[in-house]
Structure formats: structure tokens, C-alpha cells
């Protein structure tokens, strides 16, 4: 296995112009993700986590610093890293199957093979029998699963997930979390995950970066020593509790 990280950011800063004022979103971020690693960025709302994902995806370029893909800072990242935004972004005029096949369609891959693969995966995503449904006919959880399936069908080595469970109610969220663990164990892609839910972060990740409030920078990096496969039962494991308390302390929430 290649030892070099698949994604490596070095000294990345990014500012935005908002109503004539300059707002520093990220300051001197250095982070990496190894192949098949599950890395989480956690931090308070507005700390620039999503900006970091946009930078990694190639939608934005850093003001300072660089982001290397497979060791190459000048590599084109758009079209090579799949991205799941916070909202499902399903196209309302497309039926489910056409929605999840958007990636292969844009990349001009063989349609029949992609369709075959999508149909095989539908049951695992609990979407069997809904391939002809329009997005408005699906529940919130189903839409989110469809969005994840669309992301995975892009078949890239790196997947960025921006609070994929954020829009769901607590109950659906918990089911989706267990299920997301299962999906990851199975697909083994490199995942970079953004959340502000500490339990979610610890349960899913191999490594966690804790972000400060704006301007976002990394205040702590933690390895999660929990064994794989992970399960919901681990939330009483001392390693889980230790990591959770450490993150809460960094975020200034330990007095709760």
C-alpha cells in the first residue's frame, strides 16, 4: 500500500469578501487523509469546515498554501473526488434511478454498466422498488440515502461528506449512522466527513481534526483507537468516552 496520503493540505488559508469586508474563513490548515481512512472535521457552526471541503473538492482554490491530490499539488481535483453536500440536491425532475446515475452520466461512462451497478446497490440502500419515483415522493431518510448512493456511484477514491445526516430527525439520524458505518466498512473508500455531532464523529472515524471557531484552524488531532467493525454498542467503551470528552473539552463544552 502506498504510504503517501491521498489528500494533503499544507498551510491552507482562505478569506471571503462579504459586503466589502474581508472575512477570514480558514487560517493555516494542514491536514491529510490516507487511503481508505475515515477522517472527520468537527467544529462549531461557521468554523469553515464546509469551506475546507469545497477547497478539497476543487470548487475553491486556497489563497495561501496548497492541496495535493496523490502527492501532486497541481493535479486537477474537480471530477476526481466525489462530494455529497448537506442538502440532498436531487434533481426534482429526474426519477430516482436517473438521479443516482448523474455522476456516471456526466463522466460519460458506460451507461449500461453504471445502471447495472446502481440496480445491484438499490436494496443495500433501502431504495429497491423506488427507482421510478420522483424525489418529492421519497422520505427525508430515503432522499439522503439516494444522495449517498449517487455519491458512491461516482466511484472515486475520495468521498467528501458534508453533514450528510444533519437535515434528518434524531431517530432517522441514528439509523442512518449505523447504516453509514456498514456502508463504509463495505466500500472502504477514503472518506472526509464534516459534522458537529461529537458522538457521530467518534463512532465513525479513524482520525478527527477539531476546528476552532472562525477563523477556523486545527486545534487538535485525535486518533480513535476503537476496533473495526464499529457498532453502536461502542458508545460505552472507555476509548469512545475518552475521545468524546477530549473533543468536548476542546470545543469548550465539557462543563455540560
Amino acid at each position: 500500500m502506498d504510504a503517501a496520503p491521498i489528500i494533503a493540505a499544507r498551510g491552507v488559508s482562505k478569506a471571503f469578501q462579504v459586503d466589502g469586508r474581508v472575512v477570514q474563513a480558514l487560517r493555516d490548515i494542514s491536514m491529510y487523509a490516507n487511503e481508505r481512512e475515515f477522517v472527520t472535521l468537527i467544529g462549531p457552526s461557521g468554523c469553515g469546515k464546509s469551506t475546507m471541503l469545497n477547497l478539497i473538492a476543487g470548487l475553491l482554490e486556497p489563497d495561501e498554501g496548497e492541496i495535493a491530490f496523490r502527492g501532486n499539488a497541481r493535479a486537477r481535483r474537480l471530477g476526481r473526488i466525489s462530494y455529497m453536500p448537506q442538502r440532498d440536491m436531487l434533481l426534482p425532475w429526474r426519477r430516482l434511478l436517473d438521479n443516482i446515475l448523474l455522476g456516471p452520466e456526466i463522466m460519460r461512462r458506460d451507461r449500461r454498466a453504471a445502471r447495472q451497478r446502481a440496480l445491484e446497490l438499490l436494496p443495500l440502500f433501502g431504495l429497491e422498488g423506488f427507482e421510478d419515483s420522483y424525489p418529492f415522493e421519497l422520505s427525508g431518510g430515503m432522499r439522503q440515502r439516494a444522495a449517498l448512493l449517487r455519491t458512491l456511484l461516482c466511484e472515486q477514491e475520495v468521498v467528501l461528506l458534508d453533514e450528510p445526516l444533519g437535515a434528518l430527525d434524531a431517530l432517522t439520524r441514528r439509523t442512518m449512522r449505523d447504516w453509514l458505518i456498514e456502508i463504509w466498512e463495505r466500500f472502504q473508500q477514503t472518506m472526509i466527513f464534516v459534522t458537529h455531532d461529537v458522538d457521530e464523529a467518534v463512532l465513525l472515524s479513524d482520525r478527527i481534526y477539531v476546528f476552532s471557531p472562525r477563523p477556523g484552524h486545527i486545534i487538535r488531532e485525535l486518533e480513535i483507537p476503537l476496533p473495526r467493525p464499529r457498532s453502536e454498542a461502542m458508545i460505552i467503551d472507555p476509548a469512545f468516552l475518552g475521545a468524546r470528552d477530549a473533543i468536548l473539552a476542546e470545543l469548550g463544552l465539557d462543563h455540560g
Binding site: 473538492a57 434533481l91 426534482p92 452520466e105 420522483y134
Partner: protein
């Protein structure tokens, strides 16, 4: 059993939409008929609906060439407006500079009275069909441009970002996200445009033409054939409604998803309220 109930409810809803306007129109016509008879109004002043119907039926062979002429002008003018309107709308969305340059001119073009332009068009292009097509196009291209530009502009930027992460070109995002998303707005513009289009053709004919509903209307007025004036009004309305209906059918066929989604939302709102 359940299916039959759903069917009956569907028919019931349809009837709820169709019956009230139909009933009102019928009642007004009856009132008109009765008033003409009761007050013994002269036919040259105000003919009764039945007299108009009889006059129209009798003048069938005379009317057909006029109706056909106006239909051609309207359809050709509307199609030109559609092509120009969509292209301009897309152009406006493409570049902020084009938007800044064209938008004020567009609004200005709508403030010029068509009645003033129509004679000029006759001077420039003669008495043929062309000046009428231009008048129709001038009248109905504006709502199409504005709605196309606004519809394209309303695209969710995150949606475009998502496609870009898949390696989409500008052409991809336009064809797969922007254009389909703008279609409901585009159709609204088309419906406003098509409603005015027949009236546009008639204004064009008034200024100078040999044939058309507008010409027939002028001749009827000049010879105090008030019944024929009403016949041409009825024909204008019928033509407009037919064209509007055709657009609606095309819209339903292409935007099935949109109607279904909107219906669902309304239904959810209603159930929320009941709770």
C-alpha cells in the same frame, strides 16, 4: 372499490373546476338574450347571442380564410418570439454585461405603443404577412425573455457546484440543471405571451391587410354589421383559448413532475393545517 372512489373524486374535482365558469357564462348569455328581447334592442345596436350565433354560422365560408390568415400570423409570430425570447433569455443569463446592456432596452421596447409601430412596419415591410408576424413577436417575446432569464438565474448554485465536482462542463450544467429547472418559469412566460398573441395579430391587420379576423372586424363595423363584430370577437377569444390550451397540454406533458410535486406540497399543507 377504493379505485372507484378515487376516480369519482377526481371527476368531482375536475367538475368543480369546469362547472362554475361554464355556469356563469351560460347565465350571462341568458341574461343578455332576455335583456335584448325584453327591451326590444335593435340588432345593429346590440344583437342577441342567438342572432350572433346564427350570423356566424351563416357566414362560415366567408370567415374561414380570415381565421386561417390570423392563425398563421399568430403561430408564426409566436414561434419567432419563442426562438428570440429563449435565445435572449439565455444570453442575458450567460453574461452580466449583456444583462446590463439589454435589460433596460427590453423594458423600453415594451413602453412603445404597438399601435405606433405597426404603421411603420407596414411602410417598411409592405402589406404582406411579415409586419403582422413582427407585431405578434414584439408583443409576446417580452414575458418569455424575462421569465427565461429569471428562471435560469434562480438555479441553486449548490446544484451547479455538485455537478462541477463530477467534472461537468458549463454545457452540462446548463443542459442538465439550469434549463430543466427554468422550464416552469419559461412556460409561465409562454402562457402570458400566447394570451396576447392573437390580439397582436389583429392590431397588425387593422393597420393594413387584405385578410384576417381584424380585417373582417373593421369591415363589419364600417357596414354596421354589429352581429359580425361580435362574431369576430368570439373568434378571437376562441383562437386565443385554443392556443393557450395547446400550450397547457404541452406543459402538462413535459412538466408532469412539477405538477405532481406542487400538488403533493399543497396536500401536505392541508394535512398540516388539519392537525
Amino acid at each position: 372499490m377504493a379505485d372507484r372512489a378515487t376516480l369519482r373524486r377526481a371527476i368531482g374535482t375536475r367538475a368543480n373546476w369546469v362547472l362554475p365558469p361554464l355556469g356563469l357564462i351560460l347565465a350571462l348569455l341568458l341574461l343578455w338574450q332576455a335583456a335584448v328581447a325584453l327591451f326590444e334592442i335593435q340588432p345593429w345596436l346590440l344583437p342577441s347571442p342567438l342572432q350572433i350565433l346564427r350570423a356566424g354560422w351563416a357566414a362560415r365560408p366567408l370567415l374561414w380564410p380570415h381565421v386561417w390568415q390570423t392563425t398563421q400570423e399568430t403561430v408564426l409570430g409566436f414561434l419567432s418570439a419563442l426562438v428570440i425570447g429563449l435565445s435572449l433569455g439565455i444570453l442575458i443569463d450567460r453574461s452580466p454585461r449583456v444583462r446590463a446592456a439589454i435589460y433596460p432596452l427590453l423594458v423600453f421596447s415594451q413602453t412603445i405603443p404597438i399601435i405606433a409601430i405597426a404603421p411603420l412596419l407596414i411602410i417598411w415591410f409592405g402589406y404582406g404577412i411579415l409586419p403582422k408576424i413582427i407585431v405578434v413577436a414584439l408583443i409576446c417575446f417580452f414575458p418569455i425573455v424575462v421569465n427565461t432569464a429569471d428562471g435560469l438565474r434562480a438555479t441553486d448554485p449548490e446544484q451547479i457546484a455538485l455537478l462541477r465536482t463530477m467534472g461537468a462542463t458549463r454545457r452540462d450544467t446548463f443542459l442538465k440543471v439550469q434549463m430543466p429547472g427554468a422550464m416552469p418559469m419559461v412556460f409561465s412566460g409562454i402562457k402570458v405571451g400566447i394570451t396576447y398573441s392573437v390580439v397582436g395579430a389583429i392590431i397588425g391587420e387593422w393597420v393594413g391587410a387584405a385578410r384576417g379576423i381584424g380585417v373582417f372586424m373593421l369591415r363589419a363595423t364600417a357596414s354596421f354589421r354589429t352581429d359580425w363584430v361580435f362574431v369576430s370577437i368570439a373568434l378571437t377569444a376562441a383562437l386565443s383559448l385554443t392556443l393557450f390550451g395547446l400550450v397547457t397540454v404541452v406543459e402538462r406533458l413535459t412538466l408532469g413532475w412539477h405538477y405532481a410535486a406542487t400538488r403533493q406540497e399543497r396536500w401536505e399543507e392541508i394535512s398540516e393545517e388539519k392537525r
